[in-house]
Every structure is written in C-alpha cells, then in structure tokens.
C-alpha cells in the first residue's frame, strides 16, 4: 500500500516538470503555427469541415469545443491568438495554471471541431496538455523564478504527473508495436523502403531503398526494436540515457527525412518526463563539458 502511495506521491525534481512544460509549449506552438494559414478551412464556417457534422459526431458524448460556438473567421483568429499567447506564457512560466488550462482547451476544441484532419500528434498534444495542467507547476525555469528567485523553488514536488506522462508513453509504444508486429511488411523489413517513396517522404522519387532492400530491412527492424525497447530502457535508471538517445534519434531521423517533423516534436515531452534530477545534471554536465573540451584544443 505504501509503495503504491509512494509511486504517485514520492518526490520528483521540479526541473523535470519544467522541461516537459517547455517542450510541450514549443510543440503546441509549432503545431498552431502550421494550422494558422488553414484556420478558415478547418475551424470556420464556410470551410471544409461542416459544423453540423462535427456536432453530430460528438453528439451523445462529452466532447466539447469552443468552435461549436465560435465559428466566424474573426472569432477563430481570436481563439488561435489567445491559444498562442497561452503557449508562450506556459513556456515562459507565466500564469502557468491558467495558461495550461487554455492550452488544453485549445487542443480539445480543435480536435472536436475537425475530427477528419487529426493525426497522432494531435492526440499527444491533447493528452500531455491535460497532464501538464494537473501536474505540480513549481517556479523552476520560469519568469517568476528569474525575477524573484526563492530557495524553496528547488524543493521536491510530488511525482504523480510524471508517472501519468510516463505511462502514456509506454502505452503509445506498446500499442504501436502490438499493431505493427502482425503486419507482413514490418516482418519482412520492407516498410522503410515503401515509406521512403511515399508522399510522407522528403525524397519520394528516390528508389534507393527499393534497390538496396537490405538497408530497408535493417532500418525497419531497428525502428521496431527501438519502439519495443524504449519504454523499458527509459524506465530503468541505468539505461535511461541510452533509451533517450535511441528514441530521440529515431524521431530525429523521422523529422529530417519526412513531412512528419511535428510528430517527432510532439513526442519529446513524453521522453523528458522520464528524466530525474541526476539525469538532468548528467545531461547538463555533458553539455557544459563539450565547450570546455573545445576550448582546450583551440589555439
């Protein structure tokens, strides 16, 4: 019983929450910037997505959306500007709880309004913005701390929010591996060759991986192995940084070779939720050590 209690209420480093908050805000802002030019298409009356159909899809359920009542182009623009301001404020650590609530409502609202255009990264943003909203905020790495630092800023906070974020990432990977494994193209290693020629790829006219299928097989199996192992590597302290490097490496590769960079960006908050204070110190130490090493060899 005590172990279950400590699993949720044990101490956590407030910097982990700050990292997740900042990463989530930046990913949400990037997504909003991508949606900005097409806001009238998907959220306003006269656009592609019928409000009546959106309401019909949501009827009988508890899905809500600000866009059920705000449907004019000007209204949509104002909602998006408010959401963008909330993301900037959340990133800066200003009016954090209120900003987090607005960011969560924005993700709920556009998801409820334009269901046919949603992708997996929209779900990540929706879920992690809820989890940030209900998590301890603290003052670490915020404007408030910068202006008025207090010794108590570094005090430990309850870990429950991070546990829920970690669980979410585990579910993402376990589910996707479960669904991919029975597919014959994942099993024969051809998925990456097909992906490289699909419209998701930035080099869709290249037949390189079709001509070198063995490379596609290595890439396919490696990505499956990473997806299957990342949750467990991240969970164990000894292998955490390996898991972080493997997972973020996979998503970096996706980001630079495809049109799905935003998806990779939205995966980052989930990864950061696994870090504890020691990990953050180690990463910060590595980052500090690199410039010093360069200084030593410079003339």
């Amino acid at each position: 019983m005590k172990r279950a209690f400590d699993f949720f209420w044990g101490p956590a480093d407030p910097r982990t929450y700050a990292l997740v908050r900042i990463a989530l805000s930046l990913a949400a802002l990037a997504n909003l910037i991508l949606l900005w030019p097409v806001r009238d298409e998907y959220f306003a009356q006269g656009g592609l997505v019928s409000l009546a159909a959106a309401r019909a899809t949501a009827s009988g359920g508890l899905c809500g959306s600000v866009f059920y009542v705000v449907s004019s182009p000007t209204g949509v623009t104002i909602v998006m500007l408010v959401a963008a301001a909330a993301m900037v404020a959340l990133c800066a650590g200003y009016w954090m709880r209120f900003s987090a609530a607005v960011v969560w409502l924005w993700h709920l609202s556009y998801s409820g309004r334009a269901f046919p255009i949603l992708h997996s990264w929209d779900a990540l943003l929706r879920i992690y913005s809820l989890l940030v909203l209900v998590s301890p905020m603290g003052r670490v790495w915020s404007v408030l701390q910068l202006r008025h630092p207090r010794p108590a800023d570094a005090d430990r906070v309850p870990v429950y929010g991070l546990r829920l974020m970690q669980w979410q990432l585990v579910v993402v990977y376990v589910t996707t591996v479960w669904l991919k494994l029975p597919d014959e193209y994942w099993r024969n290693g051809q998925v990456c060759a097909y992906f490289s020629m699909s419209f998701y790829s930035l080099t869709s006219n290249s037949t390189f991986f079709a001509r070198h299928e063995w490379l596609s097989a290595i890439e396919t199996y490696l990505s499956l192995a990473i997806e299957a192992s990342v949750p467990w590597l991240l969970w164990m302290k000894k292998t955490r940084l390996v898991g972080l490097a493997a997972g973020l490496g996979l998503h970096f590769a996706i980001a630079v070779t495809s049109t799905l960079a935003i998806f990779s960006m939205c995966m980052v908050p989930g990864y950061l939720s696994f870090l504890d204070g020691d990990d953050i110190d180690r990463i910060a130490g590595l980052a500090r050590a690199r410039p010093r090493a360069q200084t030593l060899v410079d003339p």
Binding site: V38, Y185, F199, S204
Partner: protein, 176 residues
C-alpha cells in the same frame, strides 16, 4: 473531527485511485473490439471524451500505399457542360497538398464513418459555387487521383515507382 494530516492522507489516497483510474482509461481503450476484455473500456468512455485522452496509435501499422495524392472537384452543369474546380473551401481553391487536407479528403471520400462530413462539405461547396457562378443546379463529384506504390520487385524491374489510379466519390446534386 479528523486531524489535518489525516485528511491530507485520505485525500492523497483518493487521488491515487483517480490516477490508477486514469491509467486504466488510457490502457483499456486499446483493447481490440473483438476481445472478451473490451467491456473493460466502457466505464471510461465519457472520461476519455471529457478529458480528451481518446487516442489511437495505429500510425504506420501498415506501410504507406501512396506515392502521390491529388483531388479535384468535377462540376457538371444542367446544360451538360462540365469542368473541374479546386476542392478547397473557402474560395474553391486548388488542393494544397498538405497532410491535413489529404486526411480530410481521404476520410470523406473513402471512409463511411465520415459520410456526415461529406454531406456537409458538398452543401458548402454548392453554396460556394452558387455564389461564384450566380446559379445552382450543378452535379458535383470529388475526383481523387493517386499514384499507388508498386511492389518492390516491380519497382526494381523498371524503376517505375507507382501506378496511377482514379477514384470518384458519389455524386451530389446541388439542387435549385
């Protein structure tokens, strides 16, 4: 009256139950529909909707099938003349090639669960055509053109990546 420390412990214990429930809600929605354990997801449906944690992680569970995708709108007038128009609204603009637009059109044309969105789209498109042309009565169809990826041995044989396919939605009468 309960001492404050005891109250806090009770509140934290209650919160543990909520957290465990949230984890269960996250998990149970992925149980396959045909599984005998699927009813475990039912108690959490409204919680998933209210909090926005509904999710599906079926991204690329099969390889992508398309090398390229395009869509336009075929417009047939009452007098028999026909033409093509951009399918994007507002403004009856060309398909913009974005992932969001591709998702929208493949959903409304190919997925029966999006039929309400297709009807709504056609209603709006008819109104937009009426405004632009000054009259209604057109018959409109979404016309998809895709380059479907060929099998790897076929691609290696002659270097041709995809074969062209066309697909049309059901026709819609604009009326009046």
């Amino acid at each position: 009256m309960m001492p404050r420390g005891r109250l806090v412990t009770v509140a934290k214990a209650a919160a543990c139950v909520v957290f465990a429930g949230h984890m269960a809600a996250t998990c149970t929605q992925h149980i396959p529909a045909g599984s005998a354990l699927r009813p475990l997801a039912a108690p959490f449906v409204h919680y998933d909707e209210l909090t926005g944690i509904w999710q599906s992680w079926n991204m690329f569970t099969t390889p992508p099938y398309l090398h390229a995708y395009d869509v336009d709108l075929e417009v047939l007038e009452r007098d028999g003349t026909s033409g093509a128009a951009g399918p994007m609204l507002p403004g009856i603009r060309r398909y913009d090639g974005s992932l969001r637009a591709e998702s929208f059109f493949t959903c409304v044309v190919d997925d029966p669960s999006c039929s309400a969105y297709l009807a709504g789209y056609f209603d709006r498109m008819c109104a937009a055509l009426h405004t632009r042309l000054g009259h209604g009565g057109q018959r409109i169809v979404l016309h998809e053109v895709y380059d479907r990826l060929r099998l790897l041995p076929d691609i290696r044989a002659n270097g041709v990546i995809a074969s062209r396919e066309e697909h049309r939605s059901k026709a819609f009468d604009c009326g009046g």
